[in-house]
Amino acid sequence: MSPALTAAGARDWLQRFATAVDEHAADLTDLDRPIGDSDHGVNLQRGMRAVLAALDAADPATPGAVLLKAGSTLVSTVGGASGPLFGTLLRRTGKALGDAESVDAAALGSGLRVGLDAVTALGGAQVGDATLVDALAPAVESLEAGGSVTEAAEAAARGAASTDELVARKGRASYLGERGIGHRDPGAASTALLFAALADGDGAGAS
């Protein structure tokens, strides 16, 4: 993300994420089937469609306002746990970015840190509990350490893969205990898609 993220870039990012969620909705729902209620992919798909419509209607002027609007929309439209969690991540990140017209990778990392802290405060999950935090935290840390968005996306993907071998300690998946080992957390998988969508804009002129 050498050119900084503008409002248009942030919308392109969320558009790419929505497309990725559409493409992977069946996979995400399959991940949710053994341990959840098989609604993660569908819920996120519904939420992101509402986000794109809300952004079209509101046309926010800054990247912070784009993320704030997207987060608020997710909180009010998803209905499942991914609404408050992804919604809080984007809302609090958006608020932290303030009214800057564009943000570079380091500033985005600082904003996402505020979002990550809000998510852990909300759900109580830490790294190692087999939740979206396992993908989110390493991506944020990578950006904070001066990493590129591509490196952050790689960190998120590794974090999501790490949940394969973890025992879930939060949410309904925790009822499974050790039977959940060998299974990827759907929230971590969709978080990896969020950062992959961010990295996909790099060099394409969109960000």
Binding site: G79, G83, L122
Partner: protein, 129 residues
């Protein structure tokens, strides 16, 4: 100051049914069921919860929020986190049905928010076997 009891469930039927059950025992308290999503699915609706809480505050009441499962807790925490400090709204850490009955009965005696919350949270320790 009277206490309004808001019941947040994934299911409109569950929220309404528990409100009926609790209201039958204490008809003077205000009980507001908030269940399901805006488009009629199972899930929790942050906007509807916020509206129910704000209506209570606008009426000069305190508000006790009881929630059922998983994401209902997250939705309630998200909505309550946006309220100003000291707004007179509490998320009650209690089983949904038993806590709702205890909260509504206590609220109907004219008790304040702290006592409503305390009585509802005692429902956690009700053994059934």
């Amino acid at each position: 100051m009277s206490v309004r009891v808001v019941l947040l469930s994934h299911s409109a039927d569950v929220a309404r049914g528990v409100a009926d059950l609790a209201g039958q025992m204490a008809s003077t308290a205000t009980v507001v069921p908030v269940g399901g999503t805006a488009d009629g699915r199972l899930g929790t609706d942050a906007d509807a919860l916020e509206a129910a809480v704000e209506a209570g505050l606008a009426a000069g009441e305190e508000v006790a929020v009881l929630v059922d499962l998983g994401s209902a807790v997250l939705t309630a925490r998200t909505v309550l986190a946006e309220l100003p400090a000291g707004a007179g709204v509490a998320l009650v850490d209690a089983p949904f049905v038993e806590g709702a009955v205890a909260a509504v009965v206590t609220a109907s005696t004219g008790a304040g928010l702290a006592e409503v919350v305390a009585q509802a949270e005692l429902a956690r320790d009700l053994r059934k076997g």
